[in-house]
Amino acid sequence: MQSRQRGNMNNVDVLVVGAGHGGAQVAIAIRQRKFDGSILVVGDEPELPYERPPLSKEYFAREKSFEQMLIRPARFWEERHVMMALNTRVTSVDPIARTVDLDDGRTIRYNSLVWAAGGRARGLSCSGHTLKGVHSVRTRSDVDRIVGELPQTERVVVIGGGYVGLETAAAFVKLGKKVTLVEMLDRVLARVAGVSLSRFFEAEHRAHGVDIRLNTSVERLEGEDRVTGVRLGDNKVVPADLVIVGIGIIPAVEPLLKAGAMGANGVLVDEYCRTSLPQVFAIGDCAMHANIFASGAQLRLESVQNATEMANVAASVIAGQPQTYRAVPWFWSNQYDLRLQTIGLSIGHDREVLRGSMATRSFSVIYLKQNKVIALDCMNTTKDYVQGRALVVGGHAIQACRLADVTVPLKKLIEEVVA
């Protein structure tokens, strides 16, 4: 068994592209299922797989060391005979010959290919986007560069009001920086949350001194060599020593699409995480799938939970014990002393019910679609997060006034409908 596992780097049973959350977990899960074929993980970052969420939270704030973020220590990968080719990029895929080309000139043959390449931070296209001092927050090296520039930084402009932008803004505030956050739409988190949660976060950030500009586009970045300011659509210039661009990701799927895989904004997979190419799987941020918690709508989810569970699905198929992807989506975000936990997907909701009071900073927003609970955003209310899961899974129709009544635990409401 050992000799098979060690294999030959140029001809492997399982080739994993991307050494991030999904790539690490697929290798772990394949070995857990006692599959003893050779596994090679190819990743273009220099580090062994590490956790990305702390990048905009504890790692940024220097509360967590990089070693604590490693998904597994180096020794683990050796012991499990998982080969790692780091600092190496897959440039093309030949699905007929079942080979991939690497940027170091090598060609590797695979039996199964798992595409876990995540996405690249989307950049600005306006003039000035290549100036020094303009950063995204996707990789460890991004954050190390930002931290290196902190001593010369007083004023920061964060472009984009998604979770990464908001968390980064909070991290800068903690460090005593003056932060302006620019959002093109009429609210932050427009893509992922309902209006009331957006308004809550905007108020919290403003109370911490963040200057939030909504409905505001970016005209260009000012500066000669290094960025000095951001010119907005209304022609005002916000001075900046550092600019963070947090406007989402572009799924890293070009080589797969070129090879003929179906997809566009991501690569299309079925409930076994199989792409349209033979023995080619895709998982994590780059995998477009029909999600049963969004009435079967096709979407990509950008969460550790999704990457982890899709990895388990792909591993189960590769190890010959196939399972389908049916996991309830969940997510978390920490900003200041706020702990948000989300269960389900709120997209497509037609009603929001507020449970608790925003003034106490401990409340839940419950999302309904045709009277059925489809998601909960729980702010400092772990109990609701835990108990609300069954409401989402069951797709129960419950009266809004009952959901809003904080004196009745959600658990009790479920017992009532089930009884």
Binding site: Q305, W332, K383, V386
Partner: protein, 105 residues
């Protein structure tokens, strides 16, 4: 250095050495106890780092936090010995601790 006596979910026993200051979860993860998923990386958001602590050590642990308590409630196999391993920081006096990894939900 703290020593942890682990019974894995497979029943297999393993002795793990950890550096003081690590969380119990980090120590288990570093030691290759791969059934400890720890999806949220230790920020008390996921309950995928559930362990059962042996009685003699239970009382020496930091008290159960409110969030931890609520998250443990999401687990069908919670017992009086249940803790989330990411919420326990290892100190020298916890050396020798005995625990069992809870089954995956």
């Amino acid at each position: 250095m703290a020593v942890i006596n682990v019974e894995r979910s497979s029943g297999e026993k393993q002795v793990v050495t950890a550096t003081a200051g690590q969380s119990l979860m980090e120590a288990l993860r570093s030691a290759g106890i791969d059934e400890v998923l720890a999806i949220c990386g230790g920020c008390c958001s996921c309950a995928t780092c559930h362990v059962y602590i042996d009685d003699t050590f239970l009382e020496h642990l930091p008290p159960l936090g409110a969030t931890e308590d609520d998250l443990l409630d999401s687990l069908s196999d919670r017992t009086a010995r249940s803790r989330l391993s990411c919420q326990i920081r290892l100190t020298e006096d916890l050396s020798g601790i005995v625990l069992r990894v809870a089954p995956e939900e």
